[in-house]
């Protein structure tokens, strides 16, 4: 057997950054050497754990609020419309209203679940299946990532006729407290799903059954 792989080689390989001409030999060694393969697994695990940890907001640094930028008020006002950075404590109903009112409600405009699912990759610390909606009265319109309680949450816009429904999927999504919209929540695969919209409750239940 060849010499063991260096820590640097294992790290580069785990990062997908090893020079192409070195990959075949490295992979051959990994197939034969349990020690190096074990190190690679540990390295990839570290990378994944860091990624998952980093996609949840860091703990607050205890610092008073400070605004130190000179206000570029007019430009900022224009941009504020373009960039609705979701506020951490927004209720889902507010978020639903804000998103629907926005000029760019979704970041990826697609009716194809095979486009939307990979789009979420790397943007969320979890994944979830998006079903085929063709046989249902619902259509997928697009998706984005929003923040609820400082946690990234998947947002799917689903339409039924002229109605737009917001579907939030995340690890800890609160049920909205609102009389303005119908909402239905459920849990699947350890994730919370919350559908919000101005449609009949039975419609949201049908959407739940589709998921």
């Amino acid at each position: 057997m060849n010499e063991h792989l260096s820590a640097q080689t294992i790290e580069s390989y785990a990062d997908g950054e090893l020079a192409a001409e070195r990959v075949p030999d490295t992979e051959e060694h990994l197939r034969e050497c349990a020690a190096c393969a074990g190190k690679l697994v540990a390295q990839m695990q570290l990378k994944r754990s860091i990624r998952e940890a980093a996609w949840t907001m860091p703990p607050h640094a205890f610092r008073p609020r400070r605004r130190w930028w000179p206000a570029v008020a007019a430009a900022a006002a224009v941009l504020a419309i373009l960039i609705a950075i979701p506020r951490s404590n927004s209720e889902l109903a507010d978020l639903h209203t804000t998103i629907l009112a926005s000029a760019n409600p979704v970041d990826v405009i697609s009716t194809d679940r095979h486009t939307v699912k990979p789009w979420f990759e790397g943007k969320l610390p979890f994944s979830f299946p998006i079903p085929e909606l063709a046989a249902t009265p619902f259509h997928l319109a697009g998706a984005r990532v929003v923040y609820v309680r400082e946690e990234p949450v998947a947002y799917l816009m689903v339409t039924k006729g002229a109605h737009r429904i917001s579907l939030f999927v995340g690890r800890d999504v609160p049920s909205p407290r609102t009389d303005a919209f119908e909402s239905v929540s459920w849990t699947r695969g350890g994730l919370r799903y919350v559908a919000v919209g101005d449609v009949a409750r039975t419609d949201l239940e049908a959407l739940r059954n589709a998921f």
């Binding site: 020690a35 540990a42 695990q45 570290l46 940890a53 373009l82 970041d107 400082e150």
Partner: protein, 162 residues
């Protein structure tokens, strides 16, 4: 592509990164707004075909570094020489799947800025070494050595805790 088409899909990523740099939600929001303003103003100088993501992350970082929080973070930075690096810590001895997310987040937040930013761009943003090097204006070799050290520091921190 228009500025909006390029920039809007990155808002969640930029906010998350800003959040990790500033440690504070309001400052992070301000930082992202300021970044978008500067990027919008400088968009004419952005060359089509080059890496937009690295470009706008670089703007965010430079903006952060000249902010009060950023200046404080860099002032407290111990100077460490990348070349003196010796690989240490055996990943095998670590059982990170048991490491809880909160411990990890603490460990990342405690990293000196120069290590934190490399780690976040590579692992959170999944940037290639080249993209990280463009975003931070440092050579690729420095990216790899800082990344190795950042991960080693995180591992050690987690180990100390148990």
């Amino acid at each position: 592509m228009t500025f909006e088409e390029l920039a809007m899909p990155l808002s969640a990523s930029l906010y998350n990164y800003a959040r990790w740099l500033t440690g504070e939600p309001h400052e992070a929001e301000d930082l992202v707004q300021e970044t978008y303003l500067k990027a919008l103003r400088g968009f004419a100088s952005f060359r089509e075909g080059t890496n937009f993501r690295a470009w706008i992350f670089r703007i965010l970082r430079n903006t952060f570094l000249t902010s009060r929080t950023g200046l404080r973070a860099t002032a407290m930075q111990p100077i460490e020489d990348d070349d003196q690096f010796v690989a240490e810590g055996d990943p095998e001895t670590i059982f990170l799947h048991h490491a809880n997310g909160e411990e990890l987040r603490r460990a990342i937040l405690e990293l000196p800025l120069e290590f934190r930013e490399v780690l976040l761009l590579a692992d959170m943003e999944n940037m290639s070494y080249r993209e990280v090097s463009e975003a931070l204006s440092i050579p690729v070799g420095t990216v790899t050595s800082r990344l190795t050290r950042a991960r080693a520091k995180v591992r050690r921190r987690i180990q100390e805790k148990r």
